[in-house]
Symmetry: C2
Subunit: 156 residues, 2 copies
């Protein structure tokens, strides 16, 4: 198991802010995903090209990393919705092997909201438009007191 260089001091708030495995610029082993958000259509889009660090079957992206891409594409939709929300459920369909070393298009789409539940979807396609994997997710909006307590603790 990894016990890397991040254990030698308590993280500062600045470090915490950018340390997400999926999108944090301060995480040297992260995916460094950069999304374009459309606040009207409530969609997220990123170009993804992974190498052997994130391999599953030889030559292809690990299924768990594909799930990570889906989780990221969907969770980024919480930003234009103006909420903080946590993944509660995610279902991923692996339709075709997703190759390493190729540009792939990752998209997220907000579907609907029911109270504190947000329903999002995501897809990973190749440049020909072929869908390699798709996902549906349910995210739970954090209530204001939870967000306030988290912010007061310096952890968000």
């Amino acid at each position: 198991m990894n016990e890397g260089p991040y254990m030698d001091h308590a993280p500062t708030i600045d470090e915490q802010a950018g340390h997400c495995f999926g999108c944090g610029p301060a995480n040297p082993q992260g995916l460094h995903l950069v999304f374009t958000l459309d606040p009207d259509a409530l969609t997220s889009t990123a170009v993804v090209k992974l190498n052997r660090v994130h391999e599953g079957p030889p030559g292809y992206i690990h299924g768990g990393i594909i799930a990570t891409l889906m989780d990221e594409a969907m969770s980024k939709l919480n930003r234009p919705l103006g909420v903080m929300a946590m993944t509660r459920h995610m279902a991923v369909d692996y339709l075709r092997p997703s190759p390493l070393h190729h540009d792939l298009i990752l998209t997220g789409r907000h579907v609907q909201r029911e109270g504190r539940k947000l329903f999002h979807e995501a897809e990973l396609k190749n440049l020909k438009g072929l869908v390699l994997a798709k996902a549906a997710g349910v995210f739970i909006v954090l209530d204001e007191s939870t967000v306030a307590a988290a912010k007061a603790s310096g952890r968000f």
Copy 2:
């Protein structure tokens, strides 16, 4: 996006064998999961302790990495079943935040087989036995000609 040190030469078969992001010892940025398999009960078990490299919300494991743990625990069950199989579908329930820096217990369990479909389940618990996340997966057994072709290509 990562374009790390693995692009400077074509991978050898030895490198490929151990390069899985979840369990490959030759992947320096992998999770290096080590499972104990019970071939009679058809279960897999690993102790997991992750650090900030795999962070999602501050202090907690990224949801995509949790999905990776689930995928690994379930896919390892294909080994005692004597098959090669690919993840076709995975559904993850995130029940409680899963903390970094703590030993957690990851288990997989084979449920049933229907033709080429294998149904597996997985759980992530803390040391008190509290379930933090659980998953169900469907894996498709590769037919012999596919496995033979993959082996002949030197890719498995």
